[in-house]
Amino acid sequence: MVTKEMETLSPEALSLFGKPTKAKLIERVVFWGFRVGTYFVLACAASIFIDIFYKGGKTVFQSEYPFINVEFLTGSPQTLHVFEHDGASYELSDSDFRVFKEEAGVSIVSDTYAYSGGGIWPCIVGTVLLVVGSMAIALTLGILSAIFLSEYSKPGKVLNAVRLSILNLAGVPSIVFGIFGMGMFVLAFGWNVSLIAGWFTLAFMVLPIVISASEESMRAIPQGLRDASLALGASKWTAIRTNVLPYAMPGILTSSIIGVARVAGETAPIMFTAAYALRDQLPWQGLEHWYDFFFQGVMALPYHIYVVSAKIPQNEYTSRMQYGTAFVFLFIVAGITLISILLRIRMRKKYRW
């Protein structure tokens, strides 16, 4: 568009304002392509979260005091009894139903829905135990091997082959790790379906992530720091301990955040190695010896979601359970991630470059 003051300009100067060219058009289309793609992904993620928060929120929270569904968070999964008595309708979990029947003194016929009453406390406990144990194993083994690979091993074909195998291991489907864990830990080692078998299976699954990321963060530490420590009379290990590991730690933790999310969310690896569909006792109950703790199966949130959504008849009552569990599960993963991030920020502050 030609405005008044533009009329005084020479034709050469006017050409600077240009016309919509093909390049400009392409620019605009591409820009909108990126924008739409991003918005689409965001919309998908948001709809999943909103769905889970909305439907799960109805299970986890309630309108009257204490506003949180305590039974759901602290109870064990039970059968739900739905019935009418004296003109009122009731939804009671198995234990409450028995008490109610006792007090009423009459036999009541109820519809029963498996897994739809009670809570998910054993699953929460089981998931936290699985995450903590397997991350402890994965970080120990992972950091040890990363130190060896990045600091001690001689570069060459063998090292490259090892690195490549580790990277490939990261792409192996989790069900393969599950079956490996069953064959190795459950059957060959005779650990049965147990916490410790689950720990090692999950640890092996995240090891590739932990190793390659730890190695990356260690190699990012300037060689000058190692040289300086060695020149001051440090042994190789002292140099690594004082001047490589502390500064690599934030990076290693970042990688383990991804590991934690994966470990917490995987169902396939624990299906055959650690998870029970239903277990009345909590992990610390009914132990004969202290070491029995490691050799017991546990319930876990992802496996519980799988069981209530795929293994039992579906109805409105099970759906409440599914969404509630998913809600709590998301919350726990977010919590663990938040802790790792805070830890990382604190470490970064401590060692400012």
């Binding site: 300086a228 020149a231 001051l232 009379g233 440090a234 500064y247």
Partner: protein, 278 residues
């Protein structure tokens, strides 16, 4: 007598004064390099180097890039051990009479005696205080009074004390480039070495900071034997007593600095210092 493997004996000898005459003798040779060949993989980096480095003198290594001067410097405290493909062809380096490439020599002890300051200043991302005491801490020394004393002595020794004494707990990385390099020197002094190797310590510094480091070298040479690699010929002329000129892995000429700059014996040396190549 071996100074490296037999630290205690030496120390007691110094204390009782038995070594006194020898230690004060001027121009005693401290580092001796004879027929030294050095390889990176198949590539030979040093050819038959022979030299004597005198005690409490500043010796400068000059020469164009890639001539092997830094390589030789890093051989004196065995920092080249860290490079996988590096190996010695023949010849030996002795420090105080001890063949430092002898299998029995502990590189940790050696590096405590032969300190090093690098081209790029590399303070640890710790406080100034912790930077200085690092070498002592890894030896297991943790008595506060000893560490405090050492920090003050070394920072004064490196002419940095007045500038940082009020902020010893701030990060070493918050200092300016020249201060960082002096901090690295202070850090090296803390382990009480006999020899200081400096690998182009001023190449990343501005002229003012360079002048400060050079002044420092002047004061340090009363107590330490200093070997400095430099690209800057004026610097070599300013700070050193002896200058060694390297070219393509060979030691072309080594002599008193005045001699090298005023009337070099070899034509290549003359060509280099007059700026005709390099």
């Amino acid at each position: 007598m071996s100074l490296v493997t037999d630290k205690l004996t030496t120390k007691s000898l110094i204390e009782t004064g038995e070594l006194y005459s020898e230690m004060t003798e001027i121009n005693r040779s401290l580092i001796n390099i004879s027929n030294f060949d050095f390889f990176y993989g198949e590539k030979q980096a040093l050819f038959d180097v022979n030299m004597d480095i005198k005690e409490r003198e500043v010796t400068a290594f000059i020469g164009p890039s890639g001539c092997g001067k830094s390589t030789l410097l890093r051989c004196i405290n065995r920092m080249n051990d860290l490079i996988d493909v590096a190996r010695i062809g023949s010849g030996k380096i002795t420090v105080n009479g001890v063949d430092i490439y002898d299998d029995r020599v502990d590189t940790i002890e050696l590096r405590k005696r032969v300190g090093m300051v690098f081209q790029k200043s590399n303070p640890f991302p710790k406080s100034i205080y912790e930077n200085v005491v690092y070498g002592l801490r890894i030896q297991g020394i943790s008595r506060k009074s000893k560490l405090d004393e050492s920090v003050e002595r070394c920072l004064k020794g490196a002419a940095l004390w007045e500038e940082v004494k009020d902020r010893l707990d701030t990060s070493g990385l918050s200092l300016s480039g020249g201060q960082q390099q002096r901090l690295c020197i202070a850090r090296a002094l803390a382990v009480e070495p006999d020899i200081l190797l400096m690998d182009e310590p001023c190449s990343a510094l501005d002229p003012v900071a360079t002048a400060k480091v050079e002044e420092l070298i002047h004061t340090l040479k009363d107590r330490y034997t200093i070997v400095i690699v430099t690209h800057n010929m004026q610097q070599a002329a300013r700070v050193s007593e002896k200058t060694a000129f390297f070219y393509l892995g060979k030691l072309i000429e080594m002599n008193a600095t005045d001699q090298i700059f005023m009337s070099p014996e070899k034509e290549q040396t003359e060509a280099y210092i007059s700026g005709r190549f390099g």
